[in-house]
Symmetry: C2
Subunit: 198 residues, 2 copies
Amino acid sequence: MELEPILQQLMQALRCLPGVGQKSAQRMVFHLLERDREGAFNLAQSLAEAVDKIGHCQTCQTLSSTDICGLCDDQRRDQQLLCIVETPSDVLAINSAASYRGLYFVLNGRLSPLDGLGPADIGLDKLNARLEKGLIKEIILATNPTVEGEATAHYISEMAKKHQVKATRIAHGVPFGGELEYIDSGTLSHAFSGRNEV
Amino acid sequence: MELEPILQQLMQALRCLPGVGQKSAQRMVFHLLERDREGAFNLAQSLAEAVDKIGHCQTCQTLSSTDICGLCDDQRRDQQLLCIVETPSDVLAINSAASYRGLYFVLNGRLSPLDGLGPADIGLDKLNARLEKGLIKEIILATNPTVEGEATAHYISEMAKKHQVKATRIAHGVPFGGELEYIDSGTLSHAFSGRNEV
């Protein structure tokens, strides 16, 4: 027996979700159609609406349904601080955890010459124009501590230097509650080289 | 910052999928909108189509886009054998693994008086009518080996007896490749009580 083409197609479509393979997709199909048709209908609607309406903020490049996102539009935030992150989910993470009250700039990627991603592809021309205006006094580089993330941070810090804007990098070290014996060596060496006087 | 209402709604909608919680839903939202909009669009379409077009086969109650499903319609299958399973995914599992070539009947549940599920709710009236016709010579009870699955199997075997139809239950025991020391006691006692002469 082959599965109904419609079901097979749905199973295939579900596999675009991260972490969903053949078996989970099958489980989802049967769950949705047997037990939660309303949920499936909702999901279809929400997906279509999101794909249709969500674009990128013209100022900070995060996901937004409006030309200017709520964060960029919020005048209570510190207009002189700009935090550079790789993805919109980083914005969410920082916003829900840190007491940071400045603005954001989302690269939607990182410099990666091997993948053909140059400065313009991650919006660095836009960032450059923004720094040129002179409103930003400090940029906080919060790209991931990977080789490409570090290279991107370095590139942007050079750009900031050109415009006489202060550039800082978030601290990398032992995570809160982490135990030294279980921390990888890269993190440990970061923690040592980034040590502060107490 | 609150997340955009549209994104929040999508995140909520994704949680109807089995095994998807807050964090995975968030990851899915950003993955879909950042990296796979086409996949998201496809998924929305497939879901809507499946919800719209997939119903239940009038004969065997499995998920089907037609009134009579492909399995029930297949004249090459043994029309005298009927395998009773709980869900459409059981049909798929048996079909792709076993050499069974008879027909199926999908209960879409099991007898569960505590949840208010009686014989009519799982289509046993329909099954009764089918046994009455006299075409079926043997029913194979392949409900799950849970308390409710066993009770359902027992109920149906009594029904079969009334119509002079042979009822058999699939074997439960040590799975192929399983090691005795890791098998739970319930399975082991099933394996012993169901032993065969060699």
